[in-house]
């Protein structure tokens, strides 16, 4: 599958810079990072804490402003666009999975998955419900669609988050330590789900992880240190 999509770049960035903090505490977190993600491939960004991998992920996900450099999403230059365009692009092209799942706890699993679809407004209520059910079934939660976030285990919540990330059929999924808060068994389940579903749909996955086992199972691993990639892309 990855070969079939190899030529299609979903996400590209060049010379990304980012500073955090102010005054004497100002830190140069990203130092001219460049990166490309192709459809159907899974990329792992690894490195020690504070090396800038999560900051890079938020930059790539248009959640954060850059201090230099450019980002293209599906061929469209996004780094200079306004908040409205970036927000619309997130809804249309990007699915996020975070370490602490960030489910909206007042909503059921089904409603959480439907939320990005509601915002996109492309489907009818019946279609949204149908798709959300299918996604929850595909992550093994078909029987728990009407449970509130608080009534699900950590692994189940993360699986709902995976289903939610896939809801609008994004071209790329950005995952920040998606298994960081899970035990080994659940980590494996969530990673397998994420990669299987993404590859089935030809979506690129960029994940930040400390978990070497998970990183080894990705198509490409990019080690980072002090705001830079250490070496050229390595395939696994």
């Amino acid at each position: 599958m990855s070969t079939a999509y190899k030529q299609e770049v979903v996400l590209r960035c060049e010379g990304l810079h980012r500073y955090l903090g102010e005054g004497e505490g100002r830190v140069h977190v990203l130092r001219g990072v460049s990166f490309e993600a192709y459809r159907g491939n899974v990329y792992a960004i690894v490195g020690p804490s504070g090396c800038g991998k999560s900051t890079l992920l938020y930059q790539l996900g248009l959640l954060d402003r850059t201090d230099g450099g450019q980002i293209w999403l599906d061929g469209e230059l996004m780094s200079n666009s306004g908040d409205a365009e970036r927000t619309a692009a997130r809804n249309r092209h990007i699915g996020f999975v975070f370490q602490f799942h960030f489910l909206m706890l007042e909503f059921t699993a089904l409603e959480n998955v439907m939320m990005p679809m509601r915002k996109a407004g492309r489907l009818t209520n019946e279609q949204m419900t149908q798709r959300a059910r299918e996604l929850l079934s595909s992550v093994g939660l078909g029987e728990k669609t009407h449970r509130l976030g608080t009534q699900l285990s950590g692994g189940e919540q993360q699986r709902v988050a995976v289903a939610r990330a896939l809801a609008n059929e994004p071209s790329i999924i950005l995952a920040d330590e998606p298994t960081g808060n899970l035990d080994q068994k659940n980590s494996s389940i969530v990673f397998d789900l994420l990669t299987r579903l993404a590859k089935e749909n030809g979506q690129a996955i960029v994940l930040v992880t400390h978990n070497n086992e998970i990183a080894k199972r990705c198509d490409y691993v990019r080690p980072m240190r002090d705001g830079e990639f250490l070496s050229p892309e390595t395939g696994s």
């Binding site: 938020y58 954060d64 409205a84 915002k119 939610r164």
Partner: protein
């Protein structure tokens, strides 16, 4: 249902207790605002009805010679001009009206005039079998006076029919009658200058205005002329208007046209009207404190929700919800509480107004009533709801904007302020 509204509703129900506080304050604020406005306006309206029903909309009395005169807009007659410049300075006043009929004829063309009653007044000493008191007789033509007053509705003993058929019959104010222990059918003596005449009390009236009820006696104007030895003229003309609110304008026009002092009820009762206005305003300000508290409670609740929901806001933003969506989500919460609060507040206000209107309270002096007087006006509800909307929405905008300004990257990274 829009996703923003749905999220607002869920956030709201997750904070039931805090929202109930805001809701209760809005209900109380709106409800009490309505009740206080209904009672103060009720008493004010009743006072106005009373003064219109006793002394009429306009009173024309002393003649004056205008040294500066009045100016009308060019090319118009006195009755047509909409621009009048009048000056009360430098006028020489001559007591009473010499030619009342001429003035009455001149007043007929005024379109807003519904009735005119000429009145002759004079001081007398009243002597009953029990006691004696100072009083004032008011000579009137009954039908004319009924047309410019509520005298017909103010009868508390005997009847106007008795008055009409009884020679030497009198209409006596209720307090005066009580003081002199007079009942319909009793005799009394009126003494004016060197005359003493015997009359029969046929009817008792009560206006509710203490000053009137304790000193006023109505009698036929012909009899008054004879008793007061004033063969012609009148003390004043009492004018009834179809639209009493236009009285100041009409009075100004009449004064300019007739060269007699014309006083509108608004000018005559300015002091009391100002008192009522001040009462209405002060009660509105006082009860608005509840609405202010509602606004503060809403601010507090929304600020708490913003703090607790920063991660939800971040995830919503990452899913494609715009800053405006986040702003709307928080403003919707305020709007939902406001709508429920305003509706309940209006119901409480209406129920409270109804309950107050049935409370017994005996008031005599400036008007007579045995129950609380209330005014049912849509504008009280509009003003109460508007006050609540302004205060609560103003208080909600700050936390809502704060929520909208949150940077999702900062929240997820854990550095959001």
């Amino acid at each position: 249902m829009s996703p923003n509204f749905l999220i607002a509703l869920r956030f709201l129900t997750a904070k039931k207790r805090a929202m109930l506080m805001s809701l209760s304050c809005i209900v109380l604020g709106v409800g009490l605002f309505i009740v206080t406005q209904a009672t103060t306006s009720g008493f004010e309206n009743f006072f106005i009805r009373t003064i219109l029903g006793t002394n009429g909309a306009i009173r024309i009395d002393n003649k004056f010679q205008d040294t500066l005169g009045a100016m009308y807009a060019a090319g118009t007659d006195a009755g047509e001009s909409s621009m009048i410049i009048s000056n009360r300075e430098g006028k020489k006043l001559i007591q009473g009206i010499d030619e009342p009929q001429l003035l009455i004829n001149a007043l007929r063309p005024f379109g807003n005039v519904s009735g005119i009653s000429q009145v002759l007044t004079g001081s007398v000493v009243v002597e009953s079998a029990f006691s004696e008191a100072d009083a004032k007789v008011f000579g009137i033509a009954l039908d004319d006076h009924v047309a410019v007053s509520d005298l017909e509705d103010q009868i508390v003993g005997g009847s106007l029919a008795d008055y009409r058929v009884t020679p030497q019959g009198l209409l006596v104010g209720s307090i005066l009658a009580e003081r002199l222990r007079l009942e319909p059918g009793d005799s009394l003596t009126l003494q004016s200058r060197d005359q003493r005449r015997r009359y029969t009390v046929t009817t008792l009236f009560e206006t509710g205005v203490g000053d009137i009820d304790e000193a006023r006696i109505y009698m036929p104007i012909g009899e008054a002329r004879s008793l007061l030895k004033q063969t012609s003229g009148a003390s004043y003309l009492q004018i009834g208007l179809f639209d009493p609110d236009r009285a100041p304008y009409d009075a100004l026009l009449m004064e300019s046209t007739l060269a007699h002092s014309a006083t509108s009820w608004q000018e005559r009762e300015r002091t009391w009207l100002e008192v009522f206005r001040a009462l209405r305003l002060s009660s509105a300000i006082t009860v608005s404190v509840f609405t202010l508290i509602a606004g503060l409670a809403m601010f507090n609740t929304l600020a708490m929700i913003v703090m607790e929901k920063t991660k939800d806001i971040a995830i919503l933003r990452s899913m494609g919800f715009t800053r405006e969506d986040v702003l709307r989500i928080f403003l919707w919460q305020a709007v939902i509480v406001l709508i429920i609060g305003a509706l309940l507040g209006c119901l409480v206000g209406a129920g409270g107004t109804y309950a107050v209107s049935n409370m017994r309270v005996r008031i005599r002096g400036i008007f007579a009533t045995d129950t609380f007087i209330v005014a049912w006006s849509m504008w009280h509800y509009v003003a109460a709801v508007t006050t609540a909307v302004v205060m609560v929405m103003m208080a909600s905008v700050v936390p809502a904007r704060r929520a909208a300004r949150l940077e999702p990257g900062d929240v997820i990274r854990g550095t959001a302020q």
